[in-house]
């Protein structure tokens, strides 16, 4: 498990258990309206740990372009972010910082474990290893797991869709296998 965070355990900030109160206004259409908006603007936090972060950068650039779905606003401050992509190996040294960033994010927040290291430790899981957290779900609750080593940018996009589906219960975009592929033309053979 993670080393105890010296700042969180210090006496000057009391750690209180959050009490979930029932919502004051609980109207179904209103909740649905806000959920749609939350799903359509998932702002990720600028936070990468290892090589999967390169794929995260790639997914925000040309060709894959996460901006099409409104999720390209990488916020530097955790206070303004909704989505934490844990991209890469979580070492025990990094774990307190990760937990702290998660706790700094305000309430409707989602975590995506990207890559095998973040899911289960990946290639770093062996007997007597001492430096790696085996799965980020030991630290923070994870909404969506995106497997791969590293996953393709399309897989990260699919992870974003999965979070949107988790928020709304509806998938907005067609699945890749449902799109009829254009008929492949036979390649002209080289003379």
């Amino acid at each position: 498990m993670a080393a105890p965070d010296p700042i969180m355990t210090a006496k000057r900030i009391p750690i209180t258990k959050a009490e979930v109160l029932p919502p004051i206004i609980d109207l179904k259409p209103l909740n649905w309206f806000f959920d749609v908006n939350r799903a359509m603007s998932l702002w990720p936090i600028t936070f990468g740990l290892a090589c999967c972060a390169i794929e995260m950068m790639s997914v925000s650039m040309a060709r894959f372009d996460i901006a099409r779905f409104g999720a390209e606003v990488f916020r530097p401050s955790a206070r303004q972010a909704d989505l934490m992509m844990v991209t890469g190996t979580v070492s025990k040294k990094m774990a307190p910082a990760l937990v702290r960033l998660y706790e700094q994010m305000p309430a409707p927040k989602y975590v995506m474990a990207v890559g095998n290291c973040a899911i289960s430790g990946g290639p770093f899981k062996f007997d007597n290893q001492y430096g790696i957290i085996e799965g980020v779900d030991n630290l923070v609750p994870v909404d969506v797991y995106v497997p791969g080593c590293p996953p393709r940018p399309e897989a990260i996009l699919e992870g974003v869709f999965a979070i949107q589906e988790k928020i709304l219960g509806v998938r907005f975009w067609p699945k890749a296998e449902e799109i009829p592929s254009p008929k492949a033309e036979p390649k002209p053979e080289k003379a």
Binding site: N37, M61, A67, G70, Q80
Partner: protein, 324 residues
């Protein structure tokens, strides 16, 4: 100007319209900015949310509205809540003397530009308060940078505007527009190209936009003065940033680009076309240039813009003296 009931009602209606303009402007500009970022980086930008991504900005605003209200530990909560509101309020006053059309001015005052320059300084106070109250070292550093930058860039800005005021002989914005002709070569940009350039550079510095966005530089200060703000506090800072951009663009259009006068048909549409053209150039700049270092930022100002603007003012004064 006598304060009658009619003028009071007129100002109230104008303020409501200005609030509508600010909100609509923020929604449109967020979309334009993200689209422009996409096109400059050869990707489509927001595309799927609404037809071609047009309701993306509204979704973002609604999401920010639905975020958790959050007070970090050890903040000065009165100032913490006051700062975003204070960033938003002076902008209302700033739009009062802007002549959108010939008779479309909220408040016809003789020293309109003085009013704008006086109240524009209030914007930086909200940045200081935000940085100070949020009890965060990055916030405080961002606030300190905002002060140094705003104070520095206000001086060449005033000097550049003063050159135009010399040319016109009036501080009234409507008089400044009236003096300019209808064709582009009769506008003040043709008579004062250097002043226009200096004003443009300092308006980018004054509104904390890239390449001069040092107060919120992501790579060194997490998010600058609004690091600790989430949800609506952050949204209000964003709104006021876009409103300030709109204001300086309107001042630029009024002073240098002929305001509501255009080649074909005079009217408020020309003001809006010119102001939004300036805005688009600011967005274009943001996605083109890398961020400058802080010493470079201040060196550009104190070693180049200020001497140049003083020289420009001096030459203008001499020419006016000898020609008139």
């Amino acid at each position: 100007m006598e304060l009658s009931l009619l003028s009071f009602v007129q100002i109230i209606i104008a303020c409501l319209l200005i609030i509508g303009l600010m909100v609509g402007n923020a929604v449109i500009m967020v979309y334009i900015e993200r689209k422009a970022a996409g096109f400059i980086q050869r990707r489509p930008g927001p595309y799927e949310v609404g037809p071609r991504g047009t309701i993306q900005a509204i979704c973002d605003a609604m999401k920010l509205l639905g975020k958790q209200l959050f007070i970090p530990g050890n903040v000065d909560w009165a100032l913490y809540f006051l700062a975003p509101v204070l960033a938003f309020l002076p902008v209302l006053v700033l739009f009062l003397p802007i002549p959108f059309g010939k008779y479309l001015t909220t408040l016809q005052v003789d020293d309109g530009i003085l009013l704008i320059l006086a109240f524009a300084g209030l914007g930086v106070i909200s940045n200081i308060l935000a940085g100070w109250a949020s009890n965060n070292k990055y916030g405080l550093l961002g606030a300190a940078r905002a002060v140094a930058q705003s104070v520095a860039y206000e001086i060449p800005m005033i000097m550049a505007l003063l050159a135009v005021v010399f040319l016109t002989g009036s501080l009234n914005l409507t008089a400044i527009v009236e003096r300019q002709g209808t064709w582009p070569w009769e506008w003040n940009i043709a008579y004062q190209p250097l002043a226009c350039f200096i004003y443009f550079v300092s308006l980018v510095g004054e509104t904390n936009r890239a390449p001069f966005d040092l107060p919120e530089a992501e790579s060194e200060l997490t998010a600058g003065f609004h690091t600790e703000y989430s949800g609506m506090g952050f949204a209000l800072f964003f709104l006021s940033e876009y409103a300030n951009m709109l204001l300086v663009s309107f001042v630029c259009a009024t002073f240098f680009l002929g305001g509501y006068r255009g080649p074909i048909l005079d009217g408020f549409w020309w003001t809006f076309i010119k102001a939004y053209a300036v805005m688009c150039v600011i967005v274009w700049l943001r996605w083109t240039f890398p961020r400058v270092r802080f010493d470079q930022l201040l060196n550009i100002n104190w070693k180049w813009l200020l001497p140049l603007s003083i020289l420009n003012l001096w030459v203008t004064a001499i020419i006016i003296k000898f020609i008139d």
